[in-house]
């Protein structure tokens, strides 16, 4: 099992400034899944009921001279502490900028190693960052879990495949910071958030407790996928009635999620996506948030990067 690659400057920028800060907010530990063509950061895919978050990069988006080999179709996966990874990348960057000199001087190599730490009898796996400065070389070892077994990798791959389904209707939220600001304040009022999304391009979020109902409706959003014309007599209704009617017509779906999960998924804005879409999966199995990235300077989707979250739906009956 071998993995060795050089992070490109662009790749370092993506990880250090955007993706790792976002992924750090999603949870302390994530899986890093490396294949022949992709590096994928996965939160909560194998275990638990938290927000699933999947950030997938084509190897060219982050690395050059990418070498991977394993007996499991060249696939390697392990768990890693995102904050440690972020710290290692950050300090490597500072070393590069401080001492870097010439195009080859500041190359940042990462590789998978086994080392015998102090006071240990067994060698432990690490992801090692090696930065060669002008006069010095700095090596940082980020501890990782034992690489996942063949069965676990298969399980991870299956979970990843299952998490790729697209909701039939997606609405684009134009102002993520507005939504985030609202949800942050909403957190004080209650724990459960009702989210409904209609084919007319309405996104309606609402917290309802015995003492208060607080909600926001975003209308006339861009719709991707199944869409419908909003009935004209809906215009003067209240947001709640409008949602109810759309659901009864089969033009909208509603799910209940945790406000904390919703707010956490909004932290992905740290990755600086160009567009954000919300959708409810078929049968209301989860709430999906898809972040889209453009090739810099264009309005074309950068297919080498993808990021999406899946929020577990809470069963209102079970709580």
């Amino acid at each position: 099992m071998k993995f060795k690659a050089f992070l490109t400057e662009h790749g370092v920028g993506l990880l250090e400034k955007r993706f790792l800060p976002a992924l750090d907010k999603m949870g302390k530990i994530c899986h890093l899944f490396l294949t022949r063509d992709h590096a994928i950061f996965l939160h909560n895919l194998l275990n638990g009921d938290g927000v699933q978050c999947i950030a997938q990069f084509r190897k060219q988006a982050l690395f050059d001279d990418y070498r991977i080999s394993s007996q499991n179709e060249d696939r390697i996966a392990f768990a890693i502490d995102v904050s440690l990874l972020l710290r290692a990348v950050r300090s490597s960057v500072s070393i590069c900028t401080e001492f870097g000199n010439g195009p080859t001087a500041n190359r940042l190599q990462i590789k998978l190693v086994k080392k015998l730490p102090l006071n240990c009898t067994q060698p432990m796996p690490f992801l090692t960052f090696e930065t060669k400065g002008y006069k010095s070389a700095v090596v940082q070892d980020v501890p990782i879990s034992k690489p996942l077994s063949r069965a676990e990798v298969l399980e991870l791959q299956t979970a990843l495949d299952l998490a790729q389904d697209l909701p039939p209707t997606l609405v684009q939220v134009p102002d993520l910071s507005h939504l985030q600001n609202f949800v942050e304040r909403m957190k004080h009022v209650g724990d459960l958030l009702n989210v409904s999304i209609s084919k007319y391009g309405d996104l309606h979020v609402q917290i309802s407790t015995t003492l208060i109902t607080l909600g926001a409706e975003f209308r006339k959003l861009l719709v991707i996928g199944e869409q419908a014309e909003a009935p004209s007599d809906d215009r003067n209704l209240s947001a709640q009635t409008r949602s109810e009617r759309a659901i009864s017509r089969g033009d909208a779906q509603r799910v209940q999620v945790s406000v904390k999960h919703f707010s956490r998924s909004l932290q992905c804005h740290l990755a600086k996506p160009d567009c954000t879409f919300y959708g409810i999966a078929l049968q209301g199995s989860c709430l999906t948030v898809i972040f889209q990235f453009f090739i810099p300077g264009t309005h074309q989707t950068d297919k080498s990067i993808s990021l999406h979250c899946r929020l577990p739906v809470l069963d209102p009956g079970s709580n």
Binding site: H178, N181, F182, R185, M186, H188, V189, T210, L211, I212, T213, L214, G215, A216, E217, F218, R219, K220, S238, A239
Partner: protein, 300 residues
């Protein structure tokens, strides 16, 4: 009053406010503990939000009709309802967007006696809330403030200095004695508990801190620190920044009355508080009053 066919159906109050942030500030100033039940009283002059604690402390926030861009009052008498202050403030806060002024409409009562709020700036984004109200307790609000003598006994201290003094008095804690004496004109806050601490505001010496002083005979009263603390514990940062004076008066029986002014001007584009803007809108001030009962009768 406009008369129309729907007037009989009209709610007691429909009003619009373009400075949610200011209202949040004003109401936060009286949020001295986590769970508080407020009584809201409506009238043609505006809204009064009243809070009370164990018969020793009362606070009132006066939101006059001039603060609202629209104020339609249709009720007879003065309707009152109870509401959780924390919930009301948290809910109002959801309507305020940083760096943007947002207009909200407040209506009472809704079809189920709720307090209804909704944003009215945009057709494509609507924030709304329904807060359940309750019938207020029929307790007597026994906080009649009467001047003790012919001359009112008052002094005005810069709000920031008052807050600082209150915070410092936390160390001795328990009960705080306030002594006001005419010669030399001086206000003393004296704490005895875990230790002794005395803070003097001398009128002629600290003219930049003590803005006004009226006293013709020495008085001295004790107050529980936990109630005294409430008068500045949640003073919004805008009050500290504006640093107008807070006026304190002592009435019959040592009843302490504290008045603060909170600017409810429309949020400026930036976070910095624009002094000239608040001066241009003198009516856009919310008045806050605290009444604190003294612990025992006059010591001297």
């Amino acid at each position: 009053m406009t008369s129309s066919a729907v007037e009989a159906e009209a709610p007691d109050l429909v009003c619009q406010l373009d400075s949610v942030h200011g209202m949040v500030d004003a109401l936060s100033a009286v949020r001295w503990k986590r769970h508080q039940d407020a009584v809201v009283e409506l009238s043609e002059h505006g809204l009064v939000v009243i809070l009370e604690d164990t018969g020793c402390l009362q606070a009132k926030v006066y939101l006059q009709r001039e603060l609202f861009v629209r104020y339609e009052y249709n009720a007879e008498g003065r309707p009152r309802f109870g509401v959780s202050l924390g919930l009301f403030v948290d809910c109002l806060n959801s309507f305020s967007v940083p760096g943007r002024s947002s207009t909200i409409e407040i209506q009472y009562p809704g079809p189920d006696m709720q307090l209804l709020l909704k944003s009215v700036d945009s057709h494509d984004v609507c924030i709304y809330a329904e807060i359940r109200t309750r019938i207020p307790d029929t307790i007597s609000w026994d906080y009649h403030f009467e001047p003790a003598g012919s001359t009112p006994l008052t002094f005005t201290v810069k709000s920031a200095a008052l807050k600082e003094a209150m915070d410092d008095l936390e160390w001795p804690g328990s009960s705080i004695e306030i002594i006001v004496q005419p010669d030399p004109p001086c206000v003393t806050f004296k704490g005895e508990g875990h230790g002794d601490l005395q803070i003097d505001f001398t009128y002629y010496v600290n003219t930049d801190l003590v803005l006004a002083f009226h006293c013709d005979h020495q008085v001295s009263y004790r107050y529980k620190y936990k109630f005294l603390r409430a008068i500045t514990s949640n003073l919004p940062s805008s009050v500290i920044k504006d640093n107008r004076g807070s006026k304190l008066s002592i009435g019959r029986g040592g009843m302490l009355k504290v008045q603060h002014l909170v600017s409810v001007a429309r949020a400026a584009a930036s976070h910095t508080h624009n002094d000239s803007a608040s001066h241009q809108q003198p009516s856009r001030i919310a008045y806050i009053e605290f009444f604190v009962k003294s612990v025992v009768d006059e010591v001297n």
